[in-house]
């Protein structure tokens, strides 16, 4: 930088006409002032946009839920169908998330460490659930596991009902949240490298021991981050589950489906209360994500 950058600007055709008769110092001040004004303008527009699109609507629903005090909220929370929906959501998450976690770690290892033909195609396949509409996921599952689906007759012979019951809902939830753990684990795995694992194996550790003692501790924050994202997505999944569940009240109704059901039956308090429960879980997810990113940064610094 020259000692007097504003002096250089004075030669430019754009500013020489406008700033005629002013000293370089005042010109620098004017430029700083207009930059400052621009900065404030950008800030106002950006924050205004976020407030109108994001914050105000979310704040509004909290206000509407609690505006008549706690007792209608308590009644809405303790309604039997609400309770059932909540616990069904938890049950589905408790099955789908561990499955996706084990699969995700295994698939990340395979994609990151493996060398085989068709690896990039496999990577694309893993990402496919992100490109497919949840509704299409639901439809595809019906076409395989439904009564008229490919495996429909066979499943009926075995006495297994997938569509319109919990197994189908677990599968739908697992599909839409499939890529998270894979995608969050892969970069951490790459960063970790294979040196420590090889050292462990040279020292006599079995592959299994090396995985448990060296690899897994090294990638744990990536995995946990992926698990948080998987859980949030699994808890909130709507479209795919809506199709495969048949939306049977008190039986196959998850919390998001319950929100829709209450809303369409003009039970606004019931809908808002369930929505607020889900929104609180979403905020908890954000908090967890932030703590984990901070933790991960500290981890790499050590």
């Amino acid at each position: 930088m020259s000692s007097n950058p504003a002096g250089v600007v004075g030669f430019s055709p754009a500013s020489s006409g406008r700033q005629l008769g002013r000293g370089p110092a005042s010109e620098a001040a004017a430029r700083a002032k207009s930059a400052r004004r621009r900065q404030l303008g950008f800030r106002a527009i950006a924050l205004g946009y976020l407030a109108l699109l994001l914050l105000a609507p979310v704040a509004m629903i909290f206000y509407r839920t609690f505006e008549h005090g706690l007792s209608p909220v308590w009644n809405a929370v303790s309604a039997p169908n609400a309770q059932h929906a909540f616990w069904l959501s938890i049950e589905i998450v408790a099955i789908a998330v561990p499955l996706n976690t084990i699969f995700g770690i295994g698939m990340a290892l395979l994609l990151e460490r493996g060398r085989f033909w068709g690896k990039s195609a496999l990577g694309l396949l893993i990402d496919l659930p992100f490109a497919i509409s949840p509704v299409v996921v639901g439809l595809s599952l019906v076409l395989v596991y439904g009564k008229t689906g490919w495996l429909g007759d066979w499943l009926a012979e075995q006495g297994i009902q997938v569509i319109f019951s919990v197994p189908g809902m677990v599968i739908a939830t697992a599909v839409v949240s499939l890529p998270f753990v894979v995608r969050e684990t892969m970069p951490v795995l790459r960063e970790l490298g294979t040196d420590a694992e090889q050292a462990a194996e040279t020292l006599g550790a079995s592959a299994w021991q090396a995985f448990w003692r060296v690899t897994l501790p090294g990638i744990r924050w990536g995995v946990v981050y992926g698990v948080v994202l998987t859980t949030a997505r699994a808890l909130g999944e709507f479209g795919a589950v809506s199709i495969v569940s048949g939306r049977i009240e008190g039986q196959t109704q998850t919390l998001p489906l319950y929100v829709q059901d209450r809303f369409e039956n003009f039970d606004i308090t019931g809908a808002y209360t369930a929505a607020v429960v889900l929104a609180l879980l979403a905020l908890a997810t954000l908090l967890a994500m932030n703590l984990l990113t901070r933790r991960a940064h500290r981890g790499t610094a050590i």
């Binding site: 930059a35 950008f42 527009i45 396949l125 659930p129 490109a131 439809l139 076409l143 909130g236």
Partner: protein
């Protein structure tokens, strides 16, 4: 084991979808997707998604800029809240938007059951994409280059056009492509706020849902394949554009 899991969850269902959409031959497929209601739904989805990602490109970049270059109280909280649309269940997004912009709107703006509501819901659920893809690039952008350009007499607009935007372009494009793929498949946030009126506010995904309810699986599968291809096309173009660009730079 991994293979079985992937087959049960993804491979078999996608194969079944493709098989179903092609089961009646090309003429049946064409008939299903040229049904006027299906055409209207697909058109609405594509047009509104295109408008939404354009708005995302502008405001997403601006928000990223403010989060990286500006300093103000509460910035960390704002930054954390950007991801809220990803964490919030889509049906809740719909309810939340209706609480402020529905018929009981305290500010007198009621967009429920209009085409604007489709755009509003899609803007909400796709908000983080551009912000999150531009932010890291902006963090890595060297301020010295902009200062040098300014000291050589470039006005703020020239600096933006010649230095900042070209550097950010790949990130903006990738955010836009991800937003688009998400927008054309979106369902949950649209259900309550758009009213699902055929020929007016019925989006592609909502049309598919209706056809499944009517047990018209062939029609649902055909339109599904169209939406899926549109999403894959955009993502493939993105991959292509980024690869070409990186080769160009290197």
């Amino acid at each position: 084991m991994l293979g079985i899991y992937l087959t049960v969850l993804v491979l078999l269902p996608v194969a079944a979808l493709l098989a179903k959409s092609g089961s009646g031959g090309t003429s049946a497929f064409w008939r299903e997707i040229s049904n006027p209601e299906a055409v209207a739904a697909i058109k609405l989805t594509l047009i509104v998604s295109a408008i939404v990602v354009t708005i995302n490109a502008v405001f997403g970049t601006l928000v990223a800029w403010v989060l990286v270059r500006d300093e103000f109280r509460g910035k960390k909280i704002v930054n954390a809240l950007i991801d809220l649309p990803f964490a919030l269940p889509t049906i809740v997004a719909g309810v939340v938007l209706l609480a402020l912009y529905g018929k009981d709107s305290p500010i007198g703006i009621d967009v429920a059951f209009t085409r604007a509501s489709v755009g509003l819901a899609l803007l909400f659920v796709t908000l983080p994409f551009v912000v999150r893809s531009v932010q890291p690039v902006l963090l890595g952008l060297d301020l010295a280059m902009e200062e040098a350009a300014a000291s050589l007499g470039a006005g703020p607009l020239t600096v933006l056009r010649r230095i900042v935007l070209p550097t950010l372009a790949p990130a903006i494009i990738s955010g836009v492509a991800l937003s688009f793929a998400r927008a054309i498949g979106e369902y949950g946030s649209l259900v309550l706020i758009t009213g699902n009126l055929p020929f007016k506010t019925e989006a592609g995904s909502v049309y598919i849902f209706g056809q499944i309810q009517n047990e018209n699986l062939a029609a649902a599968a055909a339109v599904s394949v169209v939406l899926l291809l549109a999403a894959l096309l955009v993502l493939a173009l993105l991959g292509f554009a980024l690869r070409r660009r990186s080769r160009h730079v290197l």
